[in-house]
Assembly symmetry: D2
Homo-oligomer: 417 residues x 4
């Protein structure tokens, strides 16, 4: 992790910490508690776990005389750090009604007070670890939104999270933007924070390729469905079509059939009609892979994507307010050269999540953060509407298993030239 020196992290600390609580404000106490799928953690748990990170990895070691809020919480809020002692089974998170929300909010205040005190000391290591903790918390803010969507979106009442008028974008034609082959540098170049897995900047060779000028839309994906895409085995990886058959998958997550049509759950509108001009999202890698084959194209590699992003994407300019991807973003008025490469969807690539050359798995607990998941996952690039702005950069490597769909995942075509 590379961390820029910053004398005044305190306001940033307060802002990030407040944002987690703010994201949960529309929830009821019940919404905070449940875990309707193994990957979905209770919002209450995210609030506790991101706090435990500061207590366990910073305060316990660096604030003399710090008294833990409650020793027993370690047991609840350790996610998967084997080095940090025993923990409840992940599948049990949604059964833990205690500690309750009030206790967890008090826990946050307890830790925040101690952190503020510690941060005033200006210790360098503390500063670095705090920046890490804040990025960690921001990742959980994205999970908060996707987990809230799952909790509300699988409830037959389809409750709205934050009402907001959807605007429909005009249709935009798709074309392939050319990128020339050659030798390119990949990975984080220094300057600003990045994760360990972006480091070890190194060169790769690329061949000429074309990259889609925008994301695949709902309307295009609907054509795939109507063309029998889900049952045409020649379009799929064998593992993919078995996945679709076993789970009877026939459309993206949150698409619900209504008569002959499909409707879609969104956080801002509840159950709404599908807008054919918005990007399709909540698809698995299996579906993305089958779709691109149907479309006569392929997925980009993560290297192609990173090079194309640097070449074609203007600087992100967003106000930081959270907006469902399925809604047209009014403040970032779409113009001809918005290729949606950053901040619209996590885009599946055809690259497996593997270490870059000379990637050093960090020692200790930090080595468990990104380094112990480097098998059987695929890389996603770009960042979604749920991603905190400071996490959106061309080198960021997100990764999920090939069947995961509850993130805001989308599809971009690539082609040989």
């Amino acid at each position: 992790m590379t961390v820029a020196s910053s004398p005044s992290i305190l306001p940033h600390f307060d802002r990030v910490r407040r944002q987690s609580v703010r994201l949960c404000e529309p929830l009821t106490a019940e919404d905070y508690t449940v875990q309707p799928a193994p990957d979905v953690s209770p919002p209450k748990w995210h609030l506790g776990h991101s706090t435990w990170f500061f207590e366990n990895f910073i305060l316990a070691d660096h604030l003399p005389g710090y008294r833990r809020f409650d020793e027993r919480l370690n047991w609840f809020f350790n996610s998967y750090y084997e080095s940090q002692g025993p923990r409840i089974l992940r599948s049990q998170r949604g059964n833990m009604t205690r500690p309750g929300l009030e206790v967890i909010l008090e826990y946050r205040r307890h830790v925040d007070t101690a952190m503020r005190k510690l941060l005033q000391e200006g210790n360098e290591t503390v500063h670095t670890l705090t920046e890490l903790g804040l990025h960690h918390e921001q990742q959980h803010q994205e999970l908060l939104l996707t987990d809230i969507k799952y909790i509300l979106g699988s409830n037959p009442l389809y409750p709205i999270y934050q009402p907001r008028e959807a605007e429909s974008p005009p249709p935009v034609a798709h074309r392939f933007l050319p990128v020339s082959g050659g030798r390119y540098s990949i990975g984080h170049a220094g300057g600003g924070f990045c994760w360990d897995n972006e480091l070890s900047r190194h060169d790769v060779l690329l061949q000429d390729f074309g990259i889609g000028s925008r994301l695949v839309t709902n309307g295009e994906y609907l054509a795939f469905i109507r063309d029998g895409g889900y049952s045409r085995f020649e379009l799929w990886q064998m593992e993919g079509i078995e996945w679709a058959r076993t789970l009877e998958v026939k459309a993206p997550l949150y698409w619900y059939p209504e008569g002959d049509a499909w409707r879609q759950y969104t956080l801002n509108g509840g159950l709404v009609d599908i807008d054919p001009d918005l990007p399709v999202t909540h698809v698995s890698w299996y579906e993305a892979d089958a779709y691109v084959r149907w479309a006569g194209a392929r997925l980009p590699t993560e290297f192609e994507w990173e090079v194309a992003c640097r070449q074609y994407e203007p600087q992100p300019d967003r106000d930081g307010n959270w907006v469902e991807r399925g809604s047209y973003h009014p403040t970032a008025a779409r113009h001809a050269d918005d290729h949606q490469l950053l901040g619209h969807c996590w885009e599946w690539t055809n690259s497996a999540y593997l270490p870059y050359p000379r990637y050093p798995r960090p020692e200790g607990a930090l080595g468990e953060y990104n380094g112990k998941f480097m098998v059987n996952q695929m890389v996603l690039r770009g960042g979604s509407c749920a991603t905190p702005l400071s996490h959106i950069r061309p080198t960021y490597r997100n990764f999920f298993q090939t069947d995961k769909r509850w993130q805001f995942t989308g599809i971009r075509l690539a082609t040989d030239r």
Copy 2:
């Protein structure tokens, strides 16, 4: 179902309905919501389901102009009545954060108001159905307590439900009370309410037998554990020892090891020492069956139990306050002839749950209540500390699968003579 004529059911209606809400008062909003095991329903769900019963089976048919509170709730609160339309999967109950507690309490008030209006009309059918609905609700009151115990008792904080000082009873010697063989009548004789499965009173032949003068105690059960009872296959049914091996069962539910000893979760005390003189409870039929073989005895049949109960049990005399079975009941001071046959534990019998001769499975939804579970379950008799007083009678047939332990289930010995 036999129902006694009663002109003034209204006060009873109010009392029962209030009791369900009262039982939940110590809970937090989170406690109301979760389902930590498939058999355990969220307390919130019990409150809604028992209300839906009145709306769906009484108000909809008998109160002209009745407007359902919200049509969509049918989907949530139908438990298993196939005749009453689609419903969410049982396993999904704990993921339903909406409708929230406030909405459900409002639902209860809506239905109670309408029921009160309807009950003033004095319609006979309504009266009968209401009595049925109240008994149904009382069954769910028992489930409320056992489900609350599971929710709290599987949380590592071991929260106390209702604090209450435990009193320890003096040890009482065990002996076998003699019952003479002969022809006995079994089943409900008329007078007062009973369930359909208690009807069809009929005669059976019994041989001489002895019945335990009290329930098996924690101390006795501990001796079984220490004697290697859980791994001595000759004591078990094959299915039972496979169950214990697969799930690594080594003690009753809610017993937690601490060093070389066992502690126990109770609703009134949290995690407490095990009192050797209290009845053992939260055992499966498999464990009960193995224990009695170890003790050189056997389980009674449900017929033996019913006959013994009539012969030896004095009238119940309890104040109706709920007390954890694991606590000594201070208001019902134990005397020499208290054989604990009623109101202490549900006692496993060696009788399968089958229809009595000429049992008529009722038509329609009511036939789904007791009649569609008559296979692969065993009968329990006696009633527990969680059972509403009016449900405690010698003919009541409770039934569960042989692996179930979250009810207050205990063991009584029987023997041939």
Copy 3:
């Protein structure tokens, strides 16, 4: 077990032992080996296991100087006797290509030679144990046939086991035969062999009832299917309809759809048309229970069945040749008073498999034979076409779990009067 004194068991020993080998003669080496379902054992295994029974329980203890054929075989051929040491997992039986058939046949000869020598000594205990071993082997002869049917009947080539012309019986009207209520003795009365679970003859009280004059036919069962029987929940136990839904059961085992019709695999004919006048077979208890409810009747209890059998069934008179139940038995020409109570199908009853009063579970390995399965199974009575003649008697209690269908199981109606 009651065993009649018999001076000349040797010819009987030879006959029974030969019969097991004879039953397998139509098989290929491959047929001998596989286990296409957990309940189905490889024929080779049956040949070895029944031999191991004699070696392990008789020769090892009673023939001085007996040398085991191969110590390692204990590991393969112990079925479930925990008291007899470790054994391969039941699910692994079908993966054991060694010991091969030739070795097992040699094992049989080795044991038979030793047994013949031992039997000439006329020891009483040996005689008793041998008779037990032969009944055990005959039970495995029935399993051999049902397991062979499963092995061949789930192969898309539908190979014929033993070709035999099917004769079609004339249709026979169904009526209810009356049985008067009263006090009846149940269980084995002495004279001839019986199993431990038939003992403890005792009296029961029965009410007036009617018993079907014949088994339910394929044609009748087809009407149930066509009437939507498999999806009408009100006909089923809840556990039953969930079983049928989960496994997508729509007809008896071995019925295969062909266009709009059903065909059926039989051992004597391969895939053949269904004869509407033959008894339906290969149904689970769940299906039997749903069918009788559809037919407006009920299943008999095992006690009703035993009493009716004594009253209505003439002595069995069969030539002992094995004939598929689905074929009309030519040598036992059907006459007006053949009620098919013995030797046609195992008939599901509505009695759980439980010990009779004062049943003593035998000590040691024998106690594992019948006594450790007395939970969550239902009793079947009557004996099938696959049952050795000497096992067909009114008191014989067969038992299986409620989902089992690979035995020749059928349905008889009963009714209240």
Copy 4:
């Protein structure tokens, strides 16, 4: 697929076809039939499936008037070609006792006769497809050996497949051989047969690295075990340690504990002592990945491996006889520069199995051969003792899921320089 022109394929055809049958000769009929794990196919099935390949993809289209041996065999011997119609479930292969071995051998003769006739015509397409079919059959010859090892090696009698005296090699020190970074060409260069997935030769950039001078030995792996390697989470991918925990993996496949030591099943010796100087084999990718981290090294990528192989490996020179990898190969006397890169073990790499740039998934059935498995598998390089000689080349890409161990899989270290 690139296929070299070859006028006289007929002798080669006969040789390859004969070799499949020859490999099975030590088997009993039972050994031919079973499927003790989902990945393991019955040897009988391999013989049928490789024959079906010729019938279905060559004879049916190219030999006028060809009469299929038996239409129904299609159903059995289609492996996973969705384009070629329905087929039995893979998990059912081991339950298919028919067609029997004799029928399958007759099937082989039928097809061979027709193929010989067809091959004399000298048709180019036929020639190409035949070469493909023979390579396909040779892949199944490798599977035959690994499947036979699984069938015999999980039988407690540990039967020997082909007895052969093991010779123990002398210990050889391990060092890292240097490879310089730079631009290298990867993939098949033309000349001789290769699979589609080796094509699209392209350049990659490598950094300086070191590659192990030999495979990791049993003795080295034993040190990892004794050092607690299987329970030290920091050495593993999270998915890997969960795999090991769930399945209780504590050693390579075919290692069996005996007291404090381990013994190993081999095809040539049955259960034998472990030779510390032979390469460890039958490890999963998870285990290989944990081992190299323990050893302070890493796995090579498939690109590094291919470059190192070209640099360091002398030409293969083997007599083509099959020898268990766990035995020292007497005819290929080990010399100082034998780095075991080809023909000893399939070596796990840290490269996911993904298409090379511009890889064209072939149309039709052939596209199902390699192209539909390109997700969640890892590449293995080198070839094992079970690999036909003509399949051993530096560009061959084998691929398996990360938990697979029944192939002859081993470990080679790599390191950054």
